[in-house]
């Protein structure tokens, strides 16, 4: 334990400001860890890892098992040879090409709009003057308090009146605003050094140039965070696509999964798990590449209270 104490002088202490950069001891530093405690901790760690990893492993391994071994007991933990027929079966049982394309379009367009809205609003709130600006900000932030369930019925009616049921417009537009993203970006923009803006102004840069060439490049980490959260939100959304689309061809992947299960019943878990893998993998991959950003973004509002 004492070996790592030096390497992990954390970046967090500088973020919270104040604290001295003097060599700090990690928690439990002076106490010697008893071997028993260490063993117990590793047991706990193993149990925790297994709890999260075994179901995920079960998902992936079931997706590549043939029909014989998927129903075998005790289970076949290392299916070999791995087969891809389940994916073909899933694709034939349900129009996954439609689901996939719909999900891609909804996610790409929706997340882009969310990101643009968040950026423009955050910039306006940090860099421009406007009467009653603070009140306006609180008003927008207040919408975070409105629960999903309350908006569900009326949004359906609104979208139906606009003639957008079963369209991309109806799928995307109600989710295109971004208040949480705006909040994160605004908080971030407020920490940027003022001098750079002043300098840009003296150089005669207009607001658009300032936004795209000065502010945004400095906001990159937070833009990634907000973007990833937007993508995950759009891709995973369930209840809205469920009520706003009514033909199989317009369904997105999460709803497609529900459809696949209803057509396949309980008879072919292999195909159903293959479909589940198709839904889960893109977000898992995105997560693995950006996990630090997501974690930071999601907890940004949390820790500072």
């Amino acid at each position: 334990m004492s070996a790592d104490t030096q390497t992990h002088t954390d970046a967090k202490s500088s973020a919270t400001g104040g604290s001295t950069p003097a060599p700090r001891r990690k928690k439990g530093g002076p106490m010697r860890d008893s071997t028993l405690r260490k063993i117990l901790l590793y047991v706990a760690l193993t149990v925790a890892a297994a709890t999260f990893l075994v179901p995920i492993y079960w998902l992936f391994s079931s997706a590549v098992k043939d029909n014989g071994s998927i129903y075998q007991y005790p289970p076949d933990w290392f299916p070999w040879p791995m087969i891809l027929e389940n994916f073909r079966d899933a694709w034939q049982a349900a129009p996954f090409d439609h689901f996939l394309v719909n999900s891609l379009i909804v996610t790409a367009v929706g997340a882009t709009l969310k990101l643009l809205n968040a950026t423009f609003t955050a910039y306006a709130f940090t860099h421009l003057r406007f009467p009653l600006k603070n009140l306006l900000f609180l008003f927008m932030l207040g919408s975070l308090m409105v629960p999903n369930n309350v908006t569900l019925i009326v949004n359906y009616i609104t979208v139906a009146n606009l003639g957008w049921i079963n369209t991309y417009m109806g799928l995307i537009l109600p989710s295109a605003g971004s208040i949480f993203g705006m909040f994160l970006l605004r908080q971030y923009m407020m920490t940027l050094p003022k001098e750079i803006n002043e300098a840009a102004k003296v150089d005669g840069a207009g607001h658009l140039r300032m936004l795209f060439q000065v502010v945004l490049p400095m906001c990159k980490p937070m833009l990634v965070t907000v973007g990833v959260i937007a993508v995950v939100d759009m891709w995973n959304d369930f209840i809205w696509p469920l009520i706003v689309t009514n033909t199989v061809e317009m369904r997105t992947l999460p709803i497609g999964l529900l459809y696949l299960r209803s057509t396949e019943g309980y008879q072919s878990w292999g195909a159903i798990m293959a479909g589940t893998v198709i839904v889960a993998v893109p977000m898992l991959v995105l997560f693995l590449f950006t996990q630090r950003h997501i974690a930071r973004g999601l907890t940004a509002g949390a820790v500072k209270g």
Binding site: K27, P55, Y71, R129, M190, F238, L242
Partner: protein, 319 residues
Amino acid sequence: MAHQDVISAPRPPERAAPDSLSRRRGRRKRNLREYGLFALLILPNIALVLTFEYWPVLYNAWLSLTRWNMISGSPVFIGLQNYIDLFTSPGFHTVLLNTLVFGGSVVIGSVTIGLALAVLVNQKLRLRGIVRTAAFAPYVISGAAVATLWLFIFDPNYGLSRVVFSLFGATSPSWTTSAEWAMPALIIAYLWKGCGFVAIVYLAGLQGLPEEYEEAARIDGAGRWTIFRRITLPLLSPVTFFVMVITIIGTFQAYDLIAVMTNGGPGNATTTLSWFVYERAFKGGDAGGAAAAAVLLFFILLALTAVQNFYSQRKVHYQ
């Protein structure tokens, strides 16, 4: 002047030089241009918020006082009848109870498991990075996918559940189709998906704690458990507060798990208030009754948040 703290945006110091009329006009023009740009930049976002967040709250309140099938005709005002119907129907009591059981278990479960995980992962141990990543991964997987996976795990004949139960020489219950096991099944799946997020929030909280108090307590000879209970836990109470609010709000959006795993059943054993809203409106064609339930839900959330806010202001120890 461009980059001011919004809370206390002081007017930029005006030049004291004698103001000619034309210069003042020029400044007003510049101000108007800035206001215009501001309005333009926030317009799409605020229009969306008004249309899809605030307007629904108002219109939903009106709908709750009407009878309407959402398809033909228009809402007919019937006063508080929908609310009276809800509270006099025995089925609705079950729905409220389900909501309480689901919400309560998930909040208690998330906070305890999440905190334990965070403390565990905060220790300097090998492999802790893997556990952190593994615990957080389910959070980004679509709820529909998580639910489908757990449906298979809970399959009494072919799922992992059978394996686990047979380790103890028992047979797996048929989770999602039995009235008493369906709710626990939902709760387990939900916790599996969500507690990694709670753990990450707690971890960030733990790492942001000042160490002076702990050092002092340790010098005074306090043991690990005492330090945790008397110092760490109180210092973390703002985080706990945040986690509870987020988790409660999350449980009211757990449509995907319910839709895939139980459909609110068997009977209405897993029908929570939010699922009730969805079913009433979109399967039962009763916009008024659904809207009334949504209003109820809104006030429950509001009350919970207010209570937590009150509690947090009195009891929470900010650093």
